[in-house]
C-alpha cells in the first residue's frame, strides 16, 4: 500500500515537474506546477510530516501558486501566453540537466544513509520522531512539537533528558521571518504600485 501510494505521488510529482519544463504554455505550466507541488504534499504526509504537508498545500499550492497565476493573468496577453523556447535550447538544457541529475543522484544514492543514521544515532541519540514517549504518532503527530519548537522549547528532544543547554529552538527565525516578510512585502508593494504624484522627482 505504502509503495503504491509512494509510486503514485512520486510519479505525479516528478511527472508534473517534467511537464512544467516541457510545456510551452504558461497557464498549463501553472497547472502542472500545482500537480507537482500537491503530490509533494502527499509525499510529506507519507513521511509523517503532516504539518509540513498541510503548510505546503496551504501556502505553496494555495498561496504562492495563486500568486504566480495572478502574475500570469496580469502579463499573459495573447502573444505572451506561449513564448516558445527553441528546440536547440531545450536539447542543450536537457543535456546539461541529465548530467546534473546524474551527478546528484549518483552522489546521493551512493551513500549508505541508513548505516550513517544508525552510526550517528548510536552516538548522538535516537531520532526524536521514532522515540516512544511524548511524541507518539497517535498524539497529533508533529504539530504540537513544531508549535513548541517555534516558540523555542524542544519538548520532543529535551523532555526527560539530562542536558545542560536546551536544544535548538526556533523562536528567533519564527520572529525574524515576520520582519523579513514585512520588509519584503513593502518592497513588493513599492514596485507594484504606481507613483502617486505626477511631479517628476529626482529620477537621477
Amino acid at each position: 500500500m505504502e509503495l503504491l501510494l509512494f509510486t503514485v505521488f512520486a510519479a505525479a510529482a516528478c511527472g508534473g515537474a517534467i511537464a512544467v519544463v516541457l510545456s510551452q504554455n504558461v497557464v498549463r505550466m501553472a497547472f502542472y506546477l500545482v500537480i507537482s507541488l500537491g503530490s509533494t504534499a502527499g509525499l510529506f504526509f507519507m513521511l509523517n510530516a503532516d504539518f509540513v504537508g498541510a503548510t505546503q498545500l496551504l501556502i505553496y499550492v494555495g498561496g504562492t501558486v495563486v500568486l504566480l497565476i495572478f502574475g500570469v493573468m496580469l502579463t499573459a496577453s495573447g502573444p505572451f501566453l506561449t513564448i516558445k523556447s527553441s528546440p536547440g535550447d531545450m536539447v542543450q538544457a536537457i543535456l546539461v540537466g541529465a548530467l546534473f541529475l546524474g551527478m546528484v543522484v549518483v552522489t546521493v544514492l551512493q551513500v549508505d544513509w541508513d548505516g550513517n543514521a544508525a552510526k550517528l544515532e548510536s552516538r548522538y541519540g535516537v531520532s526524536s520522531l521514532e522515540r516512544p514517549g511524548y511524541n507518539q504518532r497517535g498524539e497529533g503527530h508533529t504539530t504540537r512539537s513544531i508549535g513548541a519548537a517555534l516558540l523555542g522549547a524542544r519538548f520532543d528532544k529535551d523532555l526527560g533528558k539530562n542536558r545542560e543547554q536546551p536544544s535548538t529552538g526556533y523562536l528567533l527565525p519564527f520572529e525574524i521571518v515576520s520582519v523579513h516578510l514585512l520588509v519584503v512585502l513593502i518592497g513588493a508593494a513599492y514596485l507594484a504600485r504606481a507613483k502617486r504624484r505626477v511631479n517628476v522627482p529626482s529620477e537621477f
Partner: protein, 838 residues
C-alpha cells in the same frame, strides 16, 4: 660620550633632520593650495603669476640645508669621529703603529688596541666607544648575546652592524602593530645619512634656484606648448604650471629626505614608492606630450617590476627576522636588535652552519630564542630581491631603458631626480643594506654594475641629444657605483655617489642652461660654438666634464672630484681581480669604460661649445642665462672641483662603513670569493689610478681629434661601423627586446582574455546548438518529406538554424542560469579530478 650626552645628541639630530625633512612637505601642502587658490588673491599681477611658490620651496629646502649642515657639525663634534681615509688605513696596516689621526681635525690619541689581530679593521675603527662606560651597563643583553668578554665586546662597539655611538637610531612615531610586525617611522642617523642629507639639500637648493629661471615661462595663464600639435596645425594651450612644478619638487625633496632618514627597510620602501610617484609626476610634467606620458608610464612600470623584488625581499626578511629596523643603537631599548645586528656578529661575520637541509645562518636575537635562523639561500634571495628594487630605481641592467626616456621631464628634474638623488637612492640603499648581502649577492651586484656601466657608456657615444648623453652617462656612472659596492669597495661606491651627484647635477643644469638659451633645442648636432654666447655655462660645463672624466695632473695626483672617486673604484676592481682571477672583467671593463667616458663627455662638450656653429638659426638666438640660473652653476662647480680634496669626504663616508668590509675576507659558500681588504685596495691604488688616468687621457684626446680638431671625420667611422652604430643607436635593442618579450605577449593575452567569452564560450554553445539543430531538423526533415515535400524543408531548416543561433546569442539571462548549472558541474568535475581517490 656619556649615555646622557648620547641621548641628547640623538634627540638634537633627530629634530634637526626631522624638521629639515618635513619642511618640504609643508612647502608642498602650501604650494598645492597656493596653486589652486593662489591666483585669486593676486589680481594685480595682470596675467602673470607670482613666483611666491618658488621662493617658498627654496626657503624650505634651503633651511633644510642649513639644518642638515648644522646637524652634521653637531654630529661630528659629539661623536668625535676618527677620520681615516683608505690611504691612511693602509699606511697604518703596513706600519702597525701609524698615528692615524694625523692630518685630520680629530686627533684624540686613543689607545687603539693594536695587537688585537684585526689590524686593518682597527685601522679604521671609529673607536670612540672606548670612552663609553655606558656600553657595559646599558647594553647588558647585547653583550650576552655576543657571548664574548666585555672587553672584546667593547672593542667592536664601533661598527656598522653593532650599536655604536656614531649612529643614532630611534622612532619618530609608531604607526601600528600588526601582530608581531611593528610599523613605525624610524630614523637612522650616521655619517652617511648626514652626508646624504647635506648633499641632497644642497643640490636641491641649487636646482630650486635654477628652476626659478628655467621654469619662468610657465608663469602665465596661457602657456603654449610647442611640442603638442593639435589637429589643424595649432599648438596646445594650457595654464602655466609653475606652482605645480614647485609643489612636485617639494614633495620629491620630502620623499627623498625621508628615504635617506628612514630607519627601517619598510619605511624605505614607502618613501621609495613616493619618490617613484614624484618621478612619475615630474617626468609626465608635460603630460600632453605623448612622449612624456609614455616615458612616465615606462618609468613607473619598470620601477614596479623592480619593486616587486623588493616586496619579496621584505616578506622574507619579515618572516625570518621579524623586524624591519636596520639596527638599534638606542641604549635604552637594548636587546631589540635590528636586522644588521641579527645577521652579523660583532666581527661582521655571518654565522653560517651546514645542516642537513642545507646551509643556514644563525641569527642573533633576544636570549630566549637564540635558535633563530634563516636558510642561507633565502638570505641570498632576500638580498637579490632588495637589490632588485635598486636595479629598478638606479636604472641598472636590465631595467635601464626608462632613464633616458625620463629626460622628457623638465631639465631641473633631470638634474635633481634623475641624476643626483633619486636614481642614486638605489646605490644608497645597496650601501645601507650592505651587511645583509652575502658574497653571492655582491657578485651579482658587481656584474650587474659592470654590464650597466659598459652599456650606458657605449650608447652615450652615439647619442646626439644633449640630455640623453647625460642620461646614459648617469646610467654608466651608477653602474660604476654598483660595481664598486659589489667588489667590496664600499667606500669607493658611496664616495662616487656623492661626487657624481655634484658634477652630474652641474652638467645637467648646464645643459638646461644651454637648452633654455637655445629655446628648447636639445640636439647637439645643431649646436656648436656656443662658448662665445654663454661663457659661464661653457666653463662650468667644462669643469663637470673634466670631473667626470677623471682627469688630473699626473704627477701631483691632483684632480677634480671625479678623479678621486673613480680611482678608488678602479682600484677596488683591480684589488678584487687580484683576489679572484676569474672575475677579471670587473677590472678591465671599468678601466676601458673610463676611457669611453672621457671620450663621450668631451665629445658632448666639443659638439656643443667648440667648433663652428652648425645651425645658424639656433646660434643667433642663443644667449647666456640670467644670473638666477648661472649662480647655482658656479656654486655646484666649486663643489665639483673641490669636494674630494684632502680625502676628508672619503674619511667621513668611511665612518659608516660596515665592520666586515675593511678586513676583506674569503668566503666559499656557493661561490668562492675573496673580497679585498683596505690595504689590498690601497696596495694597487697607484697602479689602478695611473691606468685609469691613462685611459681617460686617451679618451679625451681621441675626442678632441674627432670633434674639435676634426682630424678624423666621425661620419666615416660611423659608416664603416654602421652595424655597431645602429646597434648602439637602437640602445642595444633593449626596447625592441622588451617589446617582443613582454609588451606583445601581454597584448596577445589580453586580447585573448577579452575575447575568451566570445570565441570559446559562445562557440561552445554555438556548436552545441548547431548539433542539436542538425539532429532535430533531420528528424523534422524526415517527418515533413511526407507532408510538404523537399522544397519547403530547405527553407525552414535554414530559418531554424539562424533563429536558434540568434536565440542562443540573445538569451543572456537564461545563459547566466545555465552557467550556474554548468559552473556547479564543472567545479564538481574539477574536484573529482584533483581530490585524492584512495
Amino acid at each position: 660620550m656619556t649615555p646622557e650626552a648620547y641621548i641628547q645628541t640623538g634627540t638634537t639630530l633627530k629634530w634637526l633632520l626631522g624638521i629639515a625633512w618635513l619642511l618640504p612637505l609643508v612647502g608642498f601642502a602650501v604650494e598645492i593650495f597656493g596653486g589652486y587658490w593662489g591666483k585669486r588673491f593676486d589680481p594685480a599681477s595682470n596675467g602673470k603669476k607670482t613666483k611666491l611658490a618658488a621662493y617658498m620651496a627654496v626657503f624650505c629646502i634651503g633651511t633644510g640645508f642649513l639644518l642638515s649642515l648644522s646637524a652634521f657639525f653637531i654630529w661630528k663634534g659629539a661623536t668625535d669621529v676618527q677620520l681615516v681615509t683608505a690611504a691612511h688605513a693602509a699606511e697604518h696596516g703596513e706600519s702597525h703603529d701609524g698615528d692615524h689621526g694625523d692630518g685630520h681635525d680629530h686627533h684624540d690619541g686613543h689607545d687603539h688596541d693594536e695587537g688585537h689581530g684585526h689590524d686593518a679593521e682597527s685601522g679604521h675603527d671609529q673607536d670612540e666607544s672606548h670612552e663609553h662606560p655606558h656600553s657595559n651597563e646599558t647594553l647588558p643583553p647585547a653583550d650576552d648575546v655576543r657571548g664574548q668578554s666585555p672587553e672584546e665586546a667593547e672593542d667592536h662597539e664601533g661598527h656598522g652592524n653593532d650599536p655604536y655611538a656614531a649612529a643614532f637610531s630611534g622612532t619618530f612615531y609608531e604607526l601600528a602593530h600588526f601582530g608581531d610586525l611593528r610599523i613605525s617611522i624610524d630614523y637612522y642617523i650616521d655619517g652617511l645619512t648626514l652626508l646624504m642629507f647635506c648633499m641632497v639639500t644642497l643640490i636641491a637648493t641649487c636646482i630650486h634656484i635654477f628652476a626659478i629661471g628655467y621654469m619662468s615661462d610657465e608663469l602665465t595663464e596661457d602657456y603654449e606648448d610647442h611640442f603638442v600639435h593639435l589637429p589643424g596645425g595649432k599648438h596646445f594651450h594650457r595654464p602655466g604650471r609653475f606652482y605645480r612644478f614647485f609643489a612636485f619638487l617639494s614633495l620629491f625633496s620630502f620623499s627623498m629626505l625621508g628615504l635617506v632618514l628612514a630607519g627601517n627597510i619598510f619605511q624605505v620602501f614607502v618613501f621609495w614608492e613616493l619618490v617613484g610617484v614624484c618621478s612619475y609626476l615630474l617626468i609626465g610634467f608635460y603630460v600632453e606630450r605623448h612622449s612624456a606620458s609614455t616615458a612616465a608610464n615606462k618609468a613607473f612600470i619598470m620601477n614596479r617590476v623592480g619593486d616587486f623584488g623588493f616586496l619579496i625581499g621584505l616578506m622574507i626578511l619579515w618572516t625570518y627576522f621579524g623586524t624591519f629596523q636596520f639596527a638599534n643603537t638606542d641604549p635604552q631599548a637594548a636587546g631589540d636588535l635590528g636586522l644588521f645586528q641579527m645577521a652579523r656578529d660583532s666581527h661582521g661575520q655571518l654565522d653560517v652552519v651546514d645542516t642537513e637541509e642545507g646551509k643556514i645562518v644563525h641569527l642573533r636575537g633576544s636570549p630566549e630564542d637564540s635558535e633563530r635562523s634563516i636558510p642561507y639561500w633565502l638570505l641570498i634571495a632576500a638580498g637579490i630581491g632588495i637589490f632588485g628594487g635598486c636595479i629598478g630605481k638606479s636604472a641598472q641592467f636590465p631595467l635601464q631603458p626608462w632613464l633616458p626616456d625620463a629626460m622628457e621631464g623638465p631639465t631641473p628634474v633631470s638634474a635633481l631626480v634623475h641624476s643626483a638623488t633619486m636614481v642614486a637612492a638605489g646605490v644608497y640603499l645597496t650601501g645601507r643594506f650592505y651587511p645583509m648581502f652575502t658574497p653571492e649577492v655582491l657578485l651579482t651586484i658587481a656584474y650587474i654594475g659592470c654590464i650597466t656601466l659598459f652599456i650606458g657608456a657605449t650608447i652615450a657615444v652615439v647619442a646626439t641629444d644633449i640630455k640623453r648623453v647625460l642620461a646614459y652617462s648617469t646610467i654608466s656612472q651608477l653602474g660604476y657605483m654598483m660595481l664598486a659596492l659589489g667588489v667590496g669597495g664600499w667606500g669607493a661606491g658611496l664616495y662616487h655617489l656623492i661626487t657624481h651627484a655634484f658634477f652630474k647635477s652641474l652638467m645637467f643644469l648646464c645643459s638646461g642652461s644651454v637648452i633654455h638659451g637655445c629655446h628648447h633645442e636639445q640636439e647637439m648636432t645643431k649646436m656648436g660654438g656656443l662658448y662665445k654666447k654663454m661663457p659661464i655655462t661653457c666653463w662650468t660645463m667644462f669643469i663637470g666634464v673634466v670631473a667626470i672624466s677623471g682627469l688630473a695632473i699626473p704627477v701631483l695626483n691632483v684632480g677634480l672630484a671625479g678623479f678621486y672617486s673613480k680611482d678608488a673604484i678602479v682600484a677596488s676592481g683591480l684589488a678584487f681581480m687580484s683576489g679572484n682571477a676569474t672575475h677579471f672583467l670587473l677590472f678591465f671593463v671599468p678601466l676601458v669604460t673610463a676611457g669611453i667616458t672621457a671620450f663621450y663627455m668631451f665629445r658632448l662638450w666639443f659638439m656643443t661649445f667648440a667648433g663652428p656653429p652648425k645651425d645658424q638659426h639656433v646660434y643667433d638666438h642663443a644667449h647666456e642665462s640670467p644670473s638666477v640660473m648661472t649662480v647655482p652653476l658656479i656654486i655646484l662647480s666649486i663643489f665639483a672641483i673641490g669636494c674630494a680634496w684632502f680625502g676628508v669626504l672619503e674619511g667621513w663616508i668611511l665612518t659608516s662603513e660596515p665592520t666586515h668590509v675593511a678586513a676583506g675576507g674569503t668566503s666559499a659558500h656557493h661561490v668562492a670569493l675573496t673580497l679585498p681588504s683596505h690595504d689590498a685596495i690601497h696596495g694597487v691604488h697607484h697602479t689602478a689610478g695611473t691606468a685609469a688616468l691613462f685611459a681617460a687621457v686617451v679618451g679625451a684626446a681621441l675626442s678632441a681629434v674627432f670633434y674639435w680638431k676634426g682630424l678624423v671625420d666621425p661620419a666615416v667611422i660611423k659608416r664603416s661601423f654602421s652595424g655597431v652604430h645602429h646597434f648602439l643607436v637602437e640602445k642595444w635593442q633593449f626596447d625592441n627586446l622588451y617589446d617582443v618579450m613582454f609588451v606583445r605577449p601581454v597584448h596577445v593575452v589580453a586580447r585573448w582574455c577579452t575575447s575568451f567569452d566570445k570565441n570559446v564560450l559562445d562557440a561552445f554553445l554555438h556548436s552545441l546548438s548547431r548539433m542539436t539543430v542538425v539532429a532535430s531538423s533531420w528528424d523534422r526533415k524526415f517527418d515533413e518529406t511526407f507532408v510538404d515535400g523537399l522544397v519547403n524543408i530547405v527553407g525552414t531548416s535554414t530559418y531554424r538554424v539562424g533563429r536558434s543561433l540568434q536565440v542562443v546569442q540573445t538569451g543572456k539571462l537564461r545563459q547566466y542560469i545555465m552557467f550556474i548549472a554548468l559552473g556547479v558541474l564543472g567545479l564538481f568535475v574539477l574536484l573529482f579530478m584533483f581530490f585524492p581517490r584512495t
